[in-house]
């Protein structure tokens, strides 16, 4: 492989998430904003960009090519990806391969969404054809009841209580309080978590990510210093929806991931897991091998609450909200920020290695997609 470029992440940016965007904000304006911000962060000229990848639910009927035109990118590599919670790592995977095979040299990856009330309802009820035909008319009103039942099963099987989930939510909010970019920054007590109104038992309001508008961006390049990809693995449709949803595809890629990375789950300094619901964040932590004795309750009490294990140090989606497909990139942006030592008050000391997961695309009862990456700082 001598002479072949090695892909690195050389810039990251986030358009601040917001519950109430200005009237002139649109999905494409957010993506364009993220593009301008990430060029500035990476310190590169637009003319250097020769690849563009875009992940968005609401961009259609437009696609990456329409955006390329409107932001003035002349691309040798172009990719659309609407796979929600796994889109960020999926874009990163393909961008890195494109750079390493010479298809492009500098790729900008954008992800983001803006929802108005009607647009969000429509996205939820027409998430896929199965949702439209079998779930929307129950009506489930979106995925909350599905993950409520998964959470209940996890509680029964792993001996967890609402307090245990609350420890993760409160810990993420503590990180968010140190992040000027987080939407929800006021510290949260466990009692406030417990007292939040029920959404679908056992889920209450602080278990569910609020809908926000926002965008994230990365620059991947074959030259320059940056964050290296030590290992990246994906698994899609891992069980044909025949399981219970408690074990994600991460469980099946974890061994390969850690072997490729040459490190183990105990060696990483920063952890970003896809946190659409606390139960799924916990399932991914378990699937990654971070709970070696399987005692999740003790892990949450001692490692997450007690030792302040750096999990979702931006505050995650539970404190920032979910900006559609941007939720698939928020963890990568935070890992980049930590590994380049620019996380300000929430900076994890000596952060050199990070693991980031993606999870999602509810096919029927739970997410059918999973991926994970181990990143190494410069």
């Amino acid at each position: 492989m001598s002479g072949a470029p090695e892909a690195r992440i050389v810039g990251a940016a986030e358009v601040p998430y917001t519950r109430h965007p200005a009237d002139d904000v649109s999905t494409e304006s957010l993506l364009a904003d993220a593009f301008v911000r990430v060029l500035a962060d990476a310190g590169i000229e637009r003319s250097a960009v020769d690849g563009l990848g875009v992940a968005s639910f609401m961009l259609p009927p437009d696609r990456a090519i329409d955006l390329a035109w409107k932001i003035g990118v002349r691309a040798r590599w172009l990719m659309d990806d609407g796979n929600g919670g796994v889109s960020g790592i999926q874009l990163l995977q393909h961008a890195a391969r494109a750079i390493e095979s010479g298809d492009a040299s500098t790729i900008v990856l954008l992800s983001g969404d803006h929802f108005d009330e009607g647009g969000f309802r429509q996205m939820v009820d027409r998430y896929n054809l199965v949702t439209e035909k079998y779930l929307a008319k129950i009506p489930t009103g979106g995925p909350n009841p599905l993950f409520a039942m998964i959470t209940r099963k996890q509680m029964d099987e792993r001996g967890l209580t609402r307090e245990d989930y609350g420890r993760l939510v409160v810990a993420q909010r503590r990180w968010a309080s140190l992040n000027p970019g987080a939407v929800y920054r006021s510290p949260l007590t466990l009692q406030e978590y417990l007292d939040a109104p029920a959404v679908a038992e056992p889920l209450h309001r602080l278990d569910c990510v609020p809908v926000v508008s926002g965008a994230d961006a990365l620059v991947v390049s074959g030259s320059g210093d940056g964050v290296k990809i030590r290992a990246l693995r994906s698994l899609y449709n891992y069980d044909g929806q025949r399981g219970d949803g408690l074990r994600t595809g991460i469980a099946e890629i974890a061994d390969d991931l850690w072997r490729d990375a040459g490190v183990g789950p105990g060696d990483v300094d920063v952890i970003s897991v896809y946190d659409d619901y606390p139960a799924m964040a916990i399932a991914q932590l378990d699937d990654l091998g971070l709970v070696p004795d399987g005692d999740i309750a003790a892990f949450l009490r001692h490692r997450v609450e007690g030792e302040r294990l750096p999990v979702n140090t931006s505050g995650g989606q539970l404190s920032a909200g979910q900006a559609g497909c941007a939720g698939g990139m928020i963890g990568l942006v935070e890992a980049f920020t930590q590994l380049t030592g620019r996380a300000g008050d929430r900076q994890v000391e000596h952060a050199r290695l990070a693991v980031v997961t993606g999870y999602g695309m509810v096919l029927y009862r739970y997410g059918g997609c999973a991926n994970a990456v181990v990143l190494e700082g410069p």
Binding site: V130, K133, Y134, L135, K137, I138, P139, T140, G141, N144, P145, L146, A148, M149, R152, K153, P197, A198, V199, A200, E201, P202, L203, G240, R242, D244, Y364, R365
Partner: protein, 92 residues
């Protein structure tokens, strides 16, 4: 009063909802078998609209997401029906 469950004509594998290619034998022909009851494995209530949603294990194997009408609890046998395409579970 039943819910049609897709079954692979070649190998008998049941799936819900319908698929195109059988996950077990790659067969492409499906028939529908009416199922009259199942076991409620879990349920919840949407606080916003009071709709009860449950997971029902049908005897052929698949787990079905159903609207639960009436007071059924996890562990109960329930009667299955279809409202259009939507599975409906009721206490027996």
């Amino acid at each position: 009063m039943s819910l049609p469950i897709p079954v692979c004509a070649a190998c008998g594998e049941a799936a819900f909802p319908e698929l195109f290619v059988c996950p077990s034998c790659a067969g492409t022909t499906w028939r529908y078998e009416p199922v009259e009851h199942g076991m409620l494995e879990g349920s919840t209530v949407n606080a916003r609209d009071g709709v009860h949603v449950g997971l029902v294990r049908v005897p052929l194997g698949p787990l079905v997401v159903a609207r639960v009408e009436g007071a059924a609890q996890a562990g109960d046998e329930v009667a299955l029906d279809a409202d259009g395409l939507v599975p409906v579970a009721r206490p027996i």
